[in-house]
Structure formats: structure tokens, C-alpha cells
Amino acid sequence: MSESWLLFKRNLSDFWRVFRRNRMGMTGAVLVLVAVLVAVFAPLLSPYDPATVIRDEAGRGLTFAPPSVHTPLGTDDAGRDVWTQLVYGARISLMVGFLAGFIAMFVGSLLGILAGYFGGWIDNLLMRITDVLLVIPDLPLMLVLVATLRQMELKVSPLAVLILVIGLLYWTSTARLVRSQVLSIKERQFVARARAIGAGHIHIIRKHILPQIMPLIVANTVLILSTAILIESGLAFLGLGDPTQPSWGTMLNFAFDRNAISNGAWWFYLPPGLAIVWVSLGCVLLGNVLEEMLNPRLTGHHLEGEARVQPAPLESAGQASGEAAHV
């Protein structure tokens, strides 16, 4: 793993050349990139504010209006433009997903390194906490936590609560992954050498352990992002999002609450659903490819496939038999 990371670190353009040829990885990267661009340039992509109600000539709100020139994805139950909500929703969904994902990654890596490197009671304590969190089903626990924290009327925005709950509960798999990797690296001889030159723990972790597990962390982060976005959508769909800042999950929640399906308003519930699929598919594709590229053990064996053997030219075969005859 380390040698390919070296390549990655030393020569990003080389890495890019290899990556570009991977169709799956490129598809994932494009999917994610488009979503991010949409989120960043949301105001340019829509003439309306997400809260604007579209009205007809008589001044009545256009509710459940099908797609038209002015409203490419129709309107919702309150007469707001669905396309506008979709592009602004991308901001919320991606922000919550990315921030929660990064927090989870950071916590998971930190605890994994501490547990793996120091071992002993620290390892025991951290891994038992991890076990407990692994055993409790994620979604119900997060539901309860978000709902309870919401009730306590803390001075933080509902989105921050969502980010922290997802981020601080979703690190378990990362911690285990990182820990196992650290366990094997710390037995390598260059770590003993680092100790012998008089290095302290922080120096060893920073200089010798972290660079070795970086590929793992990078690939895993992308995968965690997709899960974080899915969880956010799930929680928001169940009504735990911030209604004033609707994400895609919140849009689905609205659509469900206001009978979009029985009203036949497919333009209300399909776009946010497909957007969620779009982003998480992109992350999974990208994450899998990165993992594969940075971890050669997952790719095929380098001796796999048939070696190309040049068929011997006929005349040399003739020569050989001629020589044999001489002997």
C-alpha cells in the first residue's frame, strides 16, 4: 500500500493519469463534482429564492403544478419551485454529509491510532466503547439523540446537532479499520528504529504511522461521506431535518406529508430521491476505485493473466533442428 501512496504523494499528475483511465472512478468523480458545483452555484442555477411562491396571473399560488418552462420541475404543495429547492437542498445535504463524514473520519482515525499504537488498557477501553456503539443500531440511536437534543433547546442550530450526532456516532468502522492497520505497522522495524533514535510517541505517530495509513483514510473518507449523506437524508425524511433549511431528505419528508404521491406529483418526490442516489452512487464509485488504487492487495495479482509469448519464427525452428542434426 505504501509504495502506491508514495506515488500518490510524489506525483499527483501520474496518479491522475492512471485514475483517468478508470471509467468507474471517473464516473464517480464526475457525479460528485457535478453535485458539488450545483451546490456551490445554486443561486446562479435558479431565478427564484427557495421560499418564493410562484403565482398565476390572478395571484394565487400554483400548487402541485406540473413541470413547465418557468418551473422546470413543477411546484410543490405551497407553490414553491421544486428545481430551486433541489439546488439549494444540495447545499444542505452535502454540507451536513461532508462535515459529519469528516468528523467521523477524524474521530475514527484518532481513536483507531490511539488504540492500535498504545494498546493495553487504552485499546481495551476504546474498543469496548466501539463494540457498544456497533451493537446499538445506528439509525434508532441517532433518531433518539437528535430528537432529545432538539427538545433541550440548546443554542445550536438543528443542522449542527445533526452534524455532530452523525459525526460522533459514525466512527466505529473507521476506528476498527485504522486500529488493525496501526497494529501491523507498529510492529514493523522502522518503528523500533524510530524509538531507538530517541523519538517520542507523537513524533512516531506523525512521521511514521500516519503516512502509512493515509491511503486507507483517504479511501475510507469518500465511502463514509456517502453513508453520512444517506443517514442525513434518512433522519431528515423522518422529520428531524431543519424545516427552514430543507435538504433533500426534508423535501422527501414534505412530499410524503403532503400527499404528493396520491396527488400524482412525481416531480415533487422523484428529483430529491434521485439526487440522493446520484451523490451516494458517485461517492461509492469514487471510494471503491480509490481504495483499489491505493491498496494494491485489492487489485488482481500482478502475475494474473497470460504472459504474451512470441511465437518462434519458423526459420529459427529450422535452424535449431539443423543444429541438432549436426550434433
Partner: protein, 322 residues
């Protein structure tokens, strides 16, 4: 031998607590020897007789399940009594080590020069710009062009990596260099180069070397004094001439016999029947007793003490007279 010893190892014992069955493996028992400034001490013995453990115990680099007792005086300071933090200042600054199979002791994702510089800057010996020059000097000293310091270990050959490790060991101008089988896993030509390099460096820098090896040829060529270890204990300790020409301990005698002699080639090599004692069930008497060709009744029950057989020659055998 010159004046005062640089390193005095006294009654060093190391136990490993085996986590699986809570048993204790006694890897070292009552090991004592001296290292004088500028001399080369050879630590010889079979695999598993505690040579490496002795080095790692002195440097306190053993895993957490090891229990070390005894004293190691370096310039009068007992290293075993220091805090981990002050011990860190002694490592590499005064006591450097070249590990067994040192080619694996380089971090594969760090440039070689950077790893050597790491040792210098960690102890704050030189400002960064001078450290760079020093790295170049060190590499040249071991015969590696200094431009290659910016390469990664996988771009080096095995012998070069070994020499880079020696360069790294010299980075802080230590007083003692511990070399744990510095030539195993290298081919004979490279072995000779590495030994020559060590010799050359010792003469130039005047440092003491503790050489762990099981190659008696290397010992004869390199060492001033020899410590023969068996089953975690010192069997014999003396000047290299005494050990080779006048071995007192039966194990040393057998060890020398099992080494091929160029002057008198034979069909087959002598070997010592049996195997070293298992460290979790050490016999009460002499550890060599089950394999000894001259054993007496007393050997079964009583472990022989080291006795003085010459001015600087010690051996542990019941048959020896004080």
C-alpha cells in the same frame, strides 16, 4: 585494555511474561560484561541465547511484557534507573543501534536522507541547514553518493540500505555502536564491505562497537573481547585470543570445533547434539548440562558461577579451578 569501562553491564536479567499462559520466560540471567572505549566486543552464541535481548535490554527497547532487572552503567549513570524521557536523550546520542536485518529498519515512504536527518534534528544537535550538509557527509562516509539521499529505500540495494543504516547510526556521533548481526542476509562480498566499513569507522571515530553475531570468523576478525552466551547466561568472557586459543567452557570448545577450519578441511562438520534449553522450563543446574560432553553429577543440580581463569578471562563451569 584502556582505563575505565565506558559501559558496565551488571547482573542484567530479563524476563518475558507470556500473555497466553501467564508463564515467565527467562531470556537473560545475571549477564555482566564491560565495554571499554574504542574496543569491539563480540556477543556470540546460538539463536535464541539472548544476544539480541541483551542489546535491547540495555537500550530499554523491549516490549511492555518484559521485566528487566540489574544495572547498566554508562559513564557512571545507571540507564535502568532513568525515566523513559531521559533515556530518550541517551538513545542514539550516546548509544546507537544497527538492527538485525537493518534493511527493513528504513521507513519505505521517507527519503533516506530525511530519515538520517530525523536522527540529528530530533536531538537538536544542528540547525536544519547544517543538518543537511551533515547528512551528505555521513552518506559519503559510508560510500553512498550524497545525491542519493533524496531517494527512497526501495531504490537502494540491500547492502546500500545496510550502509545507510550505519550512516544513520553515526549521525549523532555516539560513544557506542550496537550492531545486531549487521552482516546476515547480505552476500559475502557485501558482508566484507560492511565489516571493513565498521572497522574503518571505528578507527576514525574511536567509538566502541558491540557486535552481535554467530559467525566466529567475523568475531576473530573484528573483536577485541568476546562474550560467549548460552541459554541467556554468560558462558565465557575474555580476550579474543584467549577464547580462540584457550577456550575453557565446554560450550565454547564445541562451538569452535563446529566451525570449519580452512587449514584442516574435513568431510563433515562437528555439531553439538541437542538444542538450547527452552526458556520457560530452565533446568536447575548448568544450562549446558544436557548437551555437555564432560558433565559431572553436580552440573544437574547446581548452576556454575563465573570463575576467573585468567587475568581477563572468565568462564562458568564446575570443572574449572579458581
Amino acid at each position: 585494555m584502556s582505563e575505565f569501562p565506558l559501559l558496565r553491564v551488571r547482573h542484567l536479567s530479563t524476563d518475558f511474561l507470556l500473555p497466553a499462559d501467564k508463564r515467565i520466560a527467562r531470556a537473560l540471567e545475571d549477564v555482566s560484561f564491560d565495554v571499554h572505549p574504542g574496543e569491539t566486543v563480540g556477543l556470540v552464541g546460538e539463536s535464541g541465547c539472548g544476544k539480541t535481548t541483551a542489546l535491547l535490554s540495555i537500550l530499554r527497547l523491549l516490549p511492555a511484557n518484559a521485566r528487566i532487572s540489574g544495572q547498566v552503567f554508562f559513564k557512571g549513570v545507571d540507564l535502568m534507573a532513568l525515566s523513559e524521557k531521559s533515556m530518550r536523550d541517551y538513545r542514539w546520542r550516546e548509544l546507537a543501534i544497527v538492527f538485525q536485518g537493518a534493511m527493513n529498519a528504513l521507513n519505505p515512504v521517507m527519503r533516506v536522507g530525511e530519515q538520517i536527518r530525523e536522527a540529528i534534528t530530533l536531538h537538536g544537535l544542528l540547525p536544519p541547514d547544517q543538518a543537511e550538509t551533515r547528512v551528505g557527509e555521513l552518506l559519503e562516509m559510508v560510500g553512498i553518493p550524497k545525491e542519493r539521499g533524496s531517494q527512497y529505500p526501495f531504490q537502494y540495494s540491500g547492502g546500500m540500505r545496510q550502509r545507510a543504516m550505519i550512516a544513520m547510526a553515526l549521525a549523532c556521533s555516539p560513544s557506542i555502536l550496537f550492531a545486531d548481526e549487521p552482516t546476515t542476509a547480505l552476500d559475502v562480498m557485501v558482508q566484507a564491505q560492511v565489516l571493513e566499513l565498521l572497522n574503518d569507522i571505528q578507527q576514525r571515530l574511536g567509538l566502541a562497537i558491540v557486535l552481535v553475531t554467530h559467525d566466529l570468523g567475523v568475531v576473530a576478525e573484528m573483536c577485541d573481547t568476546v562474550v560467549v552466551m548460552y541459554g541467556g547466561m554468560v558462558a565465557e568472557n575474555g580476550l579474543v585470543d584467549d577464547i580462540f586459543n584457550n577456550p575453557q567452557h565446554p560450550y565454547t570448545q564445541k562451538l569452535l570445533e563446529s566451525f570449519p577450519d580452512l587449514a584442516r578441511p574435513t568431510e563433515s562438520l562437528a555439531s553439538i547434539p541437542g538444542a538450547p534449553p527452552r526458556l520457560i522450563e530452565i533446568p536447575p543446574g548448568c544450562r549446558f548440562e544436557p548437551r555437555c560432553h564432560v558433565r559431572i553429577e553436580k552440573c544437574k543440580t547446581e548452576s556454575p558461577p563465573l570463575v576467573q581463569v585468567g587475568e581477563t578471562h572468565l568462564a562458568a563451569c564446575h570443572l574449572l579451578k579458581r
